[in-house]
């Protein structure tokens, strides 16, 4: 590796680096992080990202609640999480420093915009003394750079106010980071062209800021080392970087293509699910329709109405909206129509912490309705998997004529990773027929294998019939208050969902088929659990990881898997919802690990808990 310009600095090869960009919510930190992520992904690193931003669009400038962060981990080997502790913190103001410095690994590097460390900003962040000068950061390597001043100098002569110029300082910082990690600026330069092509002065300002940051790295002598992280050895294929919400939207679009039916997405704006509506609204040329409803109930009502008409009715929301949709979901159970409900979970109860992640809607999805009303539930484990499980949700809904809940969460939705783009012909055929034959038609006659009822859509001659929320007479589908019939219908509805277990893959176990400890997870805890288990296995422990993607019904081998280990540990970002299910269904003394802080587990937290469980011989499960 040679540095062609500026001073000569040694290059150090690293396997993995984690950077956190932090600043005021108006400082463009999400954009900065996204640009660095794309660049690392295109370069061929494995990456994993974690945006962390406040719910307020613009909290008071310079305040701690207004701090917005974006963490990216990039690596030359396969990684599963956005990294525990950042190696580098880029802090654009005192509040960003104060809110993030405690997460930094000891000996980590801090790059700050020293221009922002003014007495008022220090006061807003709650600093009595300037941390850049009071020696409180002595355990870190601090690079204080007057980013605003240097950036303004680089933009000198452009027809902009100094305030407008300062809005580009994030790209100056990005330029420094690109230099420090030996990255090409091409991806970001192309993005600037695409984004600001119509506004030449803004485009020029961002270009200059980026270049000036890079040049600053080259010419300044404050950095004594630069770093390189080689490309990872990913499976062959074409990749793109993708967030969970993007993958969810693409999966839905793809499912509609695979089923050869129109998708109708009805939704009400809610964090962190709104991007799905934005994405799908842009794909009208696929014939799909999107509908921003007046409320959450109308959204699911419209989705169910669309499914009644033979389309793929889809709605998406987060926890509070899920609560409002409960009654209509019950109706969908009763009328047995396909429907998919996306719940991008966030921290609750009530409004909770809208931009923060949690896994606390599992029991709501399973049981949050009046009456016994079984609904299949699927949950992707990674951002890229959101694509596969959008398709899986529809496969189940269409084949088994049932509403399905798809549980994503804020971490999956906004986090990103490289995604190997699938070949369309490798995806399942989701087509199912409408009922058209009038001979022997009964609205609640069931397929002998799946127990699904026929999908007889309005417009089909001879199949005129009435459905609704009142109990149905078995087969005929007319209203019935007969006690035995109600009991039979309850059993049929339960059996119909239970039989889906025959139609899903077994629970896969990573590690020994029996042993000391099984760590069982679901949803976005996948990465942290898998990394922790890999490390435990490296030390020779008989520890396995199983991750449920189907939460109702469970895969048929679930009982065998959870009973094959001395101990079962279930980490969840909730108070123990899956644990309650596993304990009650399989009579296994599963232990919980529950941290509900609105953020993902770190690998070391899982590792420490697992080591504690392994070191405690008191509670064997068998």
């Amino acid at each position: 590796m040679t540095i062609t310009k500026g001073h000569e600095v040694p290059v150090q090869e690293l396997d993995r680096v984690t950077i956190r960009f932090a600043g005021d919510s108006g400082d463009g930190m999400q954009l900065t992080g996204t640009q660095f992520s794309r660049t690392a992904a295109v370069f061929g690193n494995d990456i994993s990202t974690l945006p962390d931003y406040p719910a307020e669009i613009r909290a008071p400038a310079g305040s701690i609640p207004g701090v917005s962060g974006f963490q990216i981990s990039f690596s030359s080997s396969e990684i599963h999480t956005p990294g525990d502790a950042p190696d580098v913190l880029v802090a654009m103001n005192p509040a960003a420093l104060r809110a993030n410095v405690r997460d930094l690994a000891p000996g980590g590097a801090i790059i700050v915009n020293s221009d922002a460390f003014t007495p008022p900003n220090l006061a807003k962040a709650g600093y009595a003394m300037n941390p850049l000068t009071d020696d409180s950061l002595r355990s870190y390597t601090v690079f204080d750079i007057p980013v605003s001043t240097l950036n303004a100098r680089a933009l000198d002569g452009l027809d902009m106010t100094s305030k407008q110029m300062d809005l580009t300082k994030n790209f100056f910082a990005l330029g420094i980071m690109f230099w420090l990690y030996g990255r090409s600026m091409e991806t970001t330069q192309a993005w600037i062209e695409e984004k600001f092509g119509g506004r030449p002065i803004v485009a020029e300002a961002n270009r200059r800021a980026l270049n000036a940051g890079y040049a600053f790295g080259e010419t300044t002598e404050i950095f004594h080392t630069t770093y390189r992280v080689a490309p990872a050895h990913l499976a062959p294929g074409t990749y793109r970087n993708i967030t969970g919400n993007e993958a969810t939207a693409l999966g839905q679009l793809t499912a509609s293509k695979l089923a050869d039916r129109q998708l109708v997405y009805a939704s009400y704006p809610i964090t962190p699910a709104s991007e799905i509506l934005h994405q799908l609204s842009g794909w009208k040329n696929f014939g799909l329709k999107t509908f921003q409803a007046e409320d959450e109930i109308a959204a699911i009502g419209a989705a169910l109405g669309a499914s009644y008409g033979g389309a793929m009715g889809l709605t998406g929301t987060s926890g509070p909206g899920m609560a409002l949709k409960a009654e209509m979901l019950g109706l969908a159970v009763m009328v047995e129509l396909p429907l998919v409900v996306i719940d991008v979970q966030r921290a609750g109860p009530s409004t909770g912490m809208p931009t923060k992640t949690e896994q606390s809607d599992l029991l709501q999805a399973l049981f949050g309705r009046n009456g016994d009303s079984p609904i299949p539930v699927v949950a992707p484990a990674t951002p890229a998997e959101c694509f596969d499980y959008a398709i899986e949700a529809w496969r189940i809904a269409l084949r088994h004529m049932t509403p399905v809940v798809y549980l994503s969460d804020a971490f999956l939705a906004t986090g990103s990773e490289p995604w190997r783009i699938p070949e369309l012909d490798s995806l399942p055929d989701l087509r199912v027929p409408n009922r058209t034959d009038r001979a022997g038609f009964y609205p609640y006659e069931r397929d002998p294998e799946t127990l699904a009822r026929p999908w007889a859509v309005p417009g089909t001659p001879g199949l005129e019939h009435r459905i609704g929320g009142l109990e149905k007479l078995d087969v005929l589908g007319t209203i019935s208050y007969d006690p035995d019939n109600h009991h039979r219908m309850q059993q049929l509805r339960a059996e119909k969902i239970a039989r889906i277990a025959r139609d899903i893959p077994p629970l896969d176990v990573f590690g020994p088929p029996e042993g000391e400890l099984l760590i069982l997870g679901w949803g976005s805890t996948y990465g942290a659990i898998r990394s922790a288990v890999e490390r435990l296995q490296d030390t020779g422990r008989k520890v396995a990881h199983a991750h449920l993607r189907h939460l109702n019904p469970f895969p048929t081998n679930t009982a065998d898997v959870v009973r094959a280990y001395d101990r079962v540990l279930i980490p969840e970002i909730n108070m123990g919802q899956l644990r309650m299910l596993i304990r009650s269904m399989f009579l296994v003394d599963a232990e919980g690990f529950n941290l509900v802080r609105g953020k993902p587990f770190t690998i070391s937290e899982i590792l420490a808990k697992a080591e504690q469980v392994l070191g405690d011989p008191a509670r064997p499960t068998r």
Partner: protein, 348 residues
């Protein structure tokens, strides 16, 4: 926007059906003497007039006595949940704009629990015909005050009299920009048929209030102006282009005094027919329509008939046109291309 219209059930060549074709095999189970029987009968009677095959007609209801109507129609039917029928109808029309969709609802269903959905389906001009049975009481739950119950009315839930002011359903419909607003009475069967037929032929959101008698829990709620012998003096039968005259001798009329309506007698004080307001249901300006939606017995005669009927592109057409436009502009969606959008890289 392309100007190509979305095909409607009404565009197809009419087919011949009879009232019998629209009666299902289900036993009708409303209380004997209920006004709902008449509304069902008139609905079945007018259905053949549209010439639409019954498989292309869908009745969607909410909860309440009115909610049962779809079971008695031999069309497609969906008895949904309380207040939410307009949402299901909206989604159905997004997916299947060509269907003729009716929403059957009541005063509690439409204006209380489902108020929000009525507002928004009307303002979007979804191509649905909403028939709201207004008996000014909760009947199916056995007699609690509804949003149209009178102020001070004693019901099971308001033994000291209702402290809530009633809502004017048609004022709400107009405020929500319904493109067709009408009122009819359950017992005035021919008039009711006429109104339902006009609603059926309308394209866009039609809101029809049917004054319906609940003979068990609110008997006689509309009697003061619907009894045969007082009707002519106490109802104003609206006809487009005709002066707003009423009364046994057809000599009472409505005119404006400043911004207020007043009742005058033609032939007295030099008043001629030329002084009387002429009904224009197609007026874009809703001022007079609002006045007609608001005036009520005993201060004024109760207007019945079509109050407002204006053409507006329907939600279904607009949404459909956006899809057609997107295809025309961008070409049909290429999934493989969308999957590969953004920066991609290849690992060998």
């Amino acid at each position: 926007m392309t100007d190509q219209r979305t095909p409607s059930a009404l565009d197809a060549a009419p087919i011949k059906l009879s009232r019998k074709d629209f009666a299902s095999d289900q036993e009708v189970r409303w209380c004997p003497g209920c006004g709902d029987y008449s509304i069902l009968a008139q609905t079945q009677k007018v259905m053949p007039d549209f010439g639409v095959p019954k498989e292309n007609i869908v009745f969607i209801s909410g909860i309440g006595c009115s909610g049962r109507l779809p079971y008695y129609m031999n069309t497609y039917g969906f008895h949904s949940i309380h207040g939410r029928a307009p949402t299901i109808a909206t989604g159905l029309k997004e997916a299947r704009p060509e269907l003729m969709v009716w929403v059957v609802t009541g005063d509690g269903d439409a204006l209380s629990i489902g108020g929000n959905h009525i507002l928004h389906s009307m303002r979007r001009n979804v191509d649905i015909r909403v028939v709201m049975f207004n008996n000014r009481i909760y009947g199916l739950t056995k007699g609690q005050a509804s949003p149209t119950s009178e102020f001070g009315q004693k019901t099971k839930s308001t033994p000291s009299g209702s402290a809530d002011y009633p809502i004017h359903p048609l004022v709400v419909a107009l405020a929500a920009e319904a493109s067709f607003v009408a009122r009819a009475v359950d017992t005035q069967t021919e008039h009711l048929q006429g109104v339902l037929e006009r609603a059926g032929f309308h394209r866009g959101s039609a809101f029809v209030e049917v004054l319906q008698n609940c003979n068990i829990f609110n008997d006689g709620a509309h009697r003061a102006f619907t009894e045969r012998d007082v009707r002519e003096d106490r109802q104003l039968v609206l006809e487009h282009g005709k002066p707003m005259l009423f009364g046994k001798n057809h000599d009472l009329g409505l005119r404006l005094n400043g911004v207020r309506p007043e009742i005058v007698r033609v032939g007295e004080d030099g008043i001629t027919e030329a002084d009387i307001l002429v009904h224009d249901e197609t007026s874009e300006d809703p001022t007079i329509h609002n006045m007609l939606a608001r005036i009520y017995w005993p201060e004024f005669p109760v207007p019945i008939g079509v109050i407002r009927n204006v053409p507006r592109p329907t939600h279904d057409e607009l949404v459909d046109a956006q899809v057609r436009d997107a295809i025309a502009r961008q070409g049909p969606g290429d999934l493989a291309k969308v999957l590969r959008s953004g920066e991609t890289w290849t690992v060998q």
